[in-house]
């Protein structure tokens, strides 16, 4: 087979049944991504003879004589294609994993096509942006700027990797060639939701062509751990083995094959003979905690930290302040209801994947798609009994996370294989794996009881929560406790009660998801409060104002005397409520015009119109410690290098890190090199979860930059004036008396004085007495609170259940806005993902543990055509705790969206939806 790729001739053999995508990657065209391998997401789009196609479903045997163009072939960082430049200028990307396919597809558009984007882009999924910035890119709107030296903070600086991403140069997890022959791992999965393995015979598989090893439960450490990763490993129950003899959900690992190729590994799976004894199973969390239900982990003792293994309860919380029942009985109005949320898949475009090998020193190196490289390392060391200095874990750019990569899903198996075989081994999830075995958002049933006086003052708030943690308890404890925290403590009410239980079932395990449980409970609480305001005839904004906490109010769940490090570092909820209320009453801004712009209200008797709002509070950092140790170093050319452990997966943390450091050091962000998400480049970082990247690692870097600056000024002063130490150590306090200059690009400018004329002390001079590397750390405490308010105006078709969003408005209180365009992107992306949760997405099971939606084609991730442009407003606050007054804002925008939309639909239809997603068929049925 002979064809051309980006103008270069490729002569190669094609395997029968091979597709273009894998062929291109075999030839190191790593810019061609695997998002779904099914033609649904478009991440692998390339041009074949000028026509855009999905290379993952393009049969490679037809390539003879064709010309293939990938995103790399369109342009280079130095000479980008106009569409590549446009995506960079518009900040039309976040994680960037979809970007190659987006750019290739959009590169074929004509001017007229720009009015037809919803249709033309229905084959390109983006999970991060909400599509507004992609629209801007294609339509030539510039949203970024290049500030002068020292002025980066607060400006819409581009992501440093942006141009590399849009030209296909940025490496993700698997985008590199391992020098020695790479082996591939495939997993045999349980066909039963509940079974015991009686025997496994892998003889035939071990003898199969290209197979190097088959691992079963006999080959793994006899040790329990949790796939969920937290700063404190004791936060999750030890209930999981690498390979177990008991199958607790359909799809659980039975055995792993390592072979020369994915194909050979998968073919060998069929040769493993397994004898199972099927066991009773339970799929309904309400039944799972009833007496007589099959016990998932009944054999485990207190060392596993499971709350009640004899009742399938992994965690529980029961508490009350005051007397809810009495208060409700005496209230002027009460509302009681039960709300149900579904399983939601993260749908990060890059699937979970890891590749591991031994370096020249025999040290284990694991490159993985993770949010938490340090937590992965510590658990691998725990499981395999390795010292931490014998393991390096790192992440390249990660193709989306949303909480889904706060798990150990691939790294343990590749470690096992590398330690046994001494060869590089890769394990890459398929999209089907993502849907069937990667943990989705916890489904929850949330009962709410609320009461208020006739004046609209809350008297009581009670929540009864049941969450399905699935077969394993990863995040099953933390999500439960977090879910009932800020959702309840944002309201003042003298009487509160919480009953929450997190329950094992034989469904696939649930896990961490953007919002970490809050969204599910906020959906219920905000719906109930909306109904209560209606009963009382009080405007929903006004009702919230009367009842939300304000600085000085204790943030109480059920214990008014609870010790907490959560404080009001700033407070912008009042502003958020005002901003959204005002925007709702005003016409939509002109900036929303365009292909995704302001929808025209539909006409016809079947359409019902409504408006709704909801709010959310979130703590800025996860509780009980979140740590970052960072460094900022001066380089001899006057640039700076940053070492930071947290990961970049579209959160934009890296951009902000560069901005913070550039601002302190009076330089521009292009003169800062950032090394990150690697246990070798920083001493420690808890990782990228709980939206901690700016407020923990960023704060640490900010401190490090200040230390470096002080030492640079001290050295410069000493060099010029002779006063002070020319070898001033950034770690030691510098005398402020010696500071006379300012840090400028290239070094320190010392003004004229008695020592002579003004002069620039160059970086080389500063470094003459030794390297300058400052460190900065932060321990994640105390913590502050951030706020989001969302409102929708909708039209609902009574005949079909279709919802059209006419207005979508969110106000966010993120403290100082460090990068307006990125923050807008986080709010839009969170809103888009939440609209998916609210209207479209659902991991469906058959009631017996089988996932019915194993591909994007069955699981409705919002497309370009599904999302409105959200108007984004920012409160003007300055936080006492965060760097330069900033607060976190990645998870938070997701949380108020579902109830705001439910309240708008309720307003339109006169009937309240209680279940997510509020799909067309469900809304239609609500009216029957």
């Amino acid at each position: 087979m002979k064809f051309e790729v980006n103008g270069e001739t490729v002569e190669t053999a094609v395997a029968p049944g091979q597709v273009l995508r894998t062929l291109l990657r075999e030839h190191d065209h790593f810019e061609v991504k695997k998002g779904c391998d099914a033609g649904d997401c478009g991440a692998c789009s390339v041009l074949v003879d000028g026509q855009p196609v999905h290379s993952c479903i393009y049969p490679a045997h037809r390539l003879e004589g064709t010309q293939v163009t990938t995103v790399r072939g369109l342009g280079t960082p130095e000479h980008p294609h106009p569409m590549q430049q446009a995506f960079s200028d518009a900040a039309g990307l976040q994680c960037g994993f979809c970007t190659a396919g987006m750019v290739v597809t959009a590169s074929t558009f004509t001017e007229e096509d720009k009015d037809d984007l919803p249709r033309l882009l229905k084959g390109n999924l983006c999970r991060c942006t909400g599509y507004r910035s992609i629209r801007d890119a294609i339509c030539g709107v510039t949203n970024t700027e290049t500030p002068a030296a020292g002025e980066a903070a607060g400006r819409s600086v581009k992501a440093p990797a942006g141009m590399r991403v849009v030209t296909g140069r940025e490496e993700y997890t698997l985008d590199f060639r391992t020098p020695t022959k790479l082996l591939h791992l495939a997993v045999l999965k349980s066909p039963y939701a509940s079974a015991r393995i009686l025997s496994i015979d892998a003889t035939a598989a071990r003898a199969a062509d290209g197979v190097h090893a088959v691992f079963t439960h006999e080959d793994v450490p006899d040790l329990l751990f949790s796939t969920g990763r937290h700063e404190d490993r004791n936060d999750d129950p030890d209930d999981t083995r690498i390979l177990d003899t008991v199958m607790r959900f359909r799809g659980q690992r039975v055995a792993a094959v390592v072979a020369d190729s994915v194909r050979l590994a998968e073919l060998a799976l069929a040769l493993i003979e397994v004898e199972y004894e099927e066991l009773p199973a339970v799929f309904d969390p309400a039944l799972a905690r009833e007496p007589g239900a099959p016990l998932l982990h009944g054999e485990k003792g207190p060392e596993s930290r499971i709350s009640e293994p004899g009742r399938n309860v992994v965690a529980q919380m029961h508490g009350e302040t005051g007397d809810v029942d009495a208060a409700l009985a005496a209230s002027a109005a009460t509302v009681e209801g039960t709300w149900q949320t579904q399983r939601v898949n993260h749908a990060a475009l890059e699937t979970h994947a890891a590749r591991a090998w031994l370096d020249d020193d025999g040290r284990l190196v694991v490159r993985t798609s993770t949010q938490v490289p340090f937590l992965v390392r510590s658990e691998l060391c725990h499981i395999f009994g390795l010292p931490e200095d014998r393991v390096r874990v790192f992440a390249a750019r990660v193709g989306g996370g949303f909480g889904g990569k706060q798990e150990l899903l691939t790294e343990d198996l590749v470690t096992l294989a590398v330690l046994k075989l001494g060869r590089p081994v890769q394990y890459e999830f398929t999209r089907e794996d993502e849907f069937t075995i990667a943990p989705p958002r916890h489904p929850m049933r949330v009962g709410v009881r609320v009461g208020a006086t006739a004046d609209g003052v809350l008297t009581a708030l009670a929540v009864d929560e049941l969450m399905d943690t699935g077969a394993y308890g990863n995040h099953g404890v933390g999500v439960m406790f977090h879910s009932v925290h800020e959702s309840i403590s944002v309201y003042n009410a003298p009487n509160k009660r919480v009953d929450a239980e997190s329950v094992y079932t034989n469904n696939l395990p649930s896990g961490a998801f953007r919002g970490y449980g809050l969204g599910q409970v906020i959906f219920a609480v905000e719906s109930a409060l909306d109904e209560l305001a209606r009963k009382l005839g009080i405007d929903p904004f006004e009702f919230r104002r009367r009842n939300v906490v304000k600085p000085g109010d204790a943030m109480v769940v059920v214990d008014p005397h609870e010790e907490s490090d959560l404080i009001y570092g700033s407070y912008g909820l009042d502003q958020c409520l005002d901003l959204v209320e005002t925007a709702l009453k005003s016409p939509p801004p002109a900036s929303l015009d365009g292909p995704l712009g302001t929808p025209v209200p539909p006409v016809g008797e079947q359409w019902a119109f409504g408006t709704g709002m909801a709010l959310a509070m979130i703590a800025s950092i996860p509780p009980r410690g979140h740590f970052a140790d960072t460094t900022v170093g001066l380089e001899v050319d006057g640039s700076y290098s940053i070492g930071v452990g947290t990961a970049e997966f579209g959160n934009g943390t890296t951009t902000v890190h560069g901005q913070l450091v550039a601002t302190v050091l009076g330089t521009t962000t292009d003169r800062i090199t950032i090394r990150q998400s690697d246990t070798d480049v920083a001493r420690y970082d808890t990782g990228a979860y709980g939206s901690a990247g700016v407020v923990v690692a960023g704060k640490a870097l900010h401190a490090a930059a200040h230390k470096l600056r002080a030492a640079m000024l001290a050295r410069a002063a000493a060099i010029v004036t002779g006063v002070g130490a020319v070898d001033q150590d950034p770690a030691a306090p510098a005398s402020s008396l010696a500071v006379v200059g300012e840090v400028v690009p290239g070094g320190v400018l010392v003004p004229a004085g008695r020592w002579g004329d003004a002069r620039l002390v160059t970086a080389a001079e500063l470094l003459a007495a030794g390297p300058m590397v400052a460190d900065g750390s932060h321990d994640g405490t105390p913590r502050t609170v951030a706020f989001n308010v969302h409102a929708f105006r909708v039209a609902v078709d009574r005949g079909t259940g279709e919802v059209r969003i006419l207005r979508s408005i969110q106000a966010a209180d993120a403290g100082t806005v460090l990068n307006p365009e990125q923050l807008r992107g986080q709010v839009e992306g969170g809103t888009g993902q939440a609209i998916g949760t609210s209207l479209y997405e659902e991991v469906m099971l058959d009631g017996a543990g089988t996932v019915l939606t194993p591909a994007f084609r069955g699981y409705r991730v919002p497309k370009f055509s599904d999302l409105p442009v959200t108007e984004v407003h920012f409160a003007e606050t300055h936080d006492d705790l965060g760097p330069l007054g900033a607060k976190s804002m990645s998870e938070a925008p997701y949380n108020p969206v579902a109830p705001a939309l439910a309240n708008a639909i309720r307003d339109a239809l006169g009937v309240r939806p209680h279940e997510l997603p509020m799909s067309r068929d469900r809304l239609w049925r609500l009216l029957q």
Binding site: A15, P16, G17, Q18, V19, T22, A38, G39, D40, G42, S45, Q51, P52, V53, H54, C56, I57, Y58, P59, H61, R62, T105, P118, R119, L120, L121, K122, G123, N124, V262, R263, E266, L267, T430, G799, T800, G801, E802, L839, Y840, E842, M844, L852, T853, A855, R857, G858, Y859, R860, P862, K863, S865, D866, S919, R920, D921, R922, W924, R925, Q928
Partner: protein
């Protein structure tokens, strides 16, 4: 995705080479075959290698080769009096697949895959197209597309047979039509797709797809009354149940669409 069990892909040079061993299947564009795992599939015979003329128009018939890409079909220019020509793009746009897939996917492949949401099936059934089927011994047979697709992933193809072409009567293209479609998301996989057509002969044809496991067709000699149409829809025995819509909703929206189409066609009857 790579089809790991496939050992051979053959490119036939003429009809005599369209032969299948057990475990082998015909290959059209491949956009569906390569989009899911195909356990047990050992070989493919690539029909696109045969160079069949994609589109042939005569006074009576539009012949669409099974291997004609969806893109080529959407680019077919309208001829005078082809009132139903917009159905070509309406149906193509009803596919979950984007225009990039149309560059490769074939009309015959979409019909032969026999998915309820296969909009080429909707189109061909609504236009009273005939499926031309080639047998392994050089024989051919024909049948209406509306009955060729028998259920979810089920067609009337017997072992060794391939779908050769789809023949659309030009009279069908000259019909007045009305079209309704809905999915659980705006451009998502169809939950219900209803096409009404008034044939030049005066016959009123209603075709329901996506909402039912296989196409359902109602034919009326003249414009049906609301009651007659409702009665027909009420008689549909099975509404499809999959993640793209609950059966009760599919019944309701299909029935609603039927009545809307009836109203629309009343004003434009031939």
């Amino acid at each position: 995705m790579d089809l790991i069990s496939v050992r051979e892909i053959r490119m036939p040079r003429d009809r005599s080479e369209i032969v299948f061993a057990p475990g082998e299947q015909p290959l059209g564009g491949g956009t569906w075959l390569f989009s899911e795992r195909q356990p047990g599939l050992t070989g493919l015979v690539d029909l696109t290698a045969l160079g069949w003329e994609p589109l042939t128009v005569t006074a009576e018939t539009l012949t669409i080769a099974a291997t004609c890409t969806i893109r080529d079909l959407t680019l077919l220019p309208a001829q005078a009096g082809w009132h139903a020509h917009p159905l070509l793009s309406l149906c193509a746009n009803s596919l979950l697949a984007s225009f990039k897939i149309w560059n490769v996917a074939t009309v015959g492949g979409n019909v032969a895959t026999a998915l309820p949401a296969g909009a080429m099936t909707s189109l061909m059934a609504a236009l009273d197209a005939t499926a031309v089927i080639w047998g392994p011994e050089g024989e051919a047979r024909t049948m209406p597309v509306a009955t060729f697709v028998r259920g979810v992933r089920q067609t009337d193809l017997r072992p060794g047979e391939v779908l050769r072409a789809l023949e659309v009567p030009v009279a069908s293209l000259s019909s007045q039509f009305a079209f309704r479609r809905i999915a659980l998301s705006n451009l998502g996989r169809s939950g219900a797709l209803v096409i009404g057509r008034v044939d030049p002969s005066g016959e009123h044809v209603y075709t329901v797809t996506a909402a039912t496991p296989a196409p359902v067709q109602f034919r009326f000699d003249e414009a049906p009354s609301a009651a007659a149409l409702k009665h027909a829809f009420d008689g549909i025995q099975e509404w499809y149940d999959d993640p793209h819509g609950a059966p009760d909703w599919r019944r309701a929206v299909s029935t609603l669409f039927g009545e809307e189409i009836r109203g629309e066609l009343e004003g434009s009857a031939a």
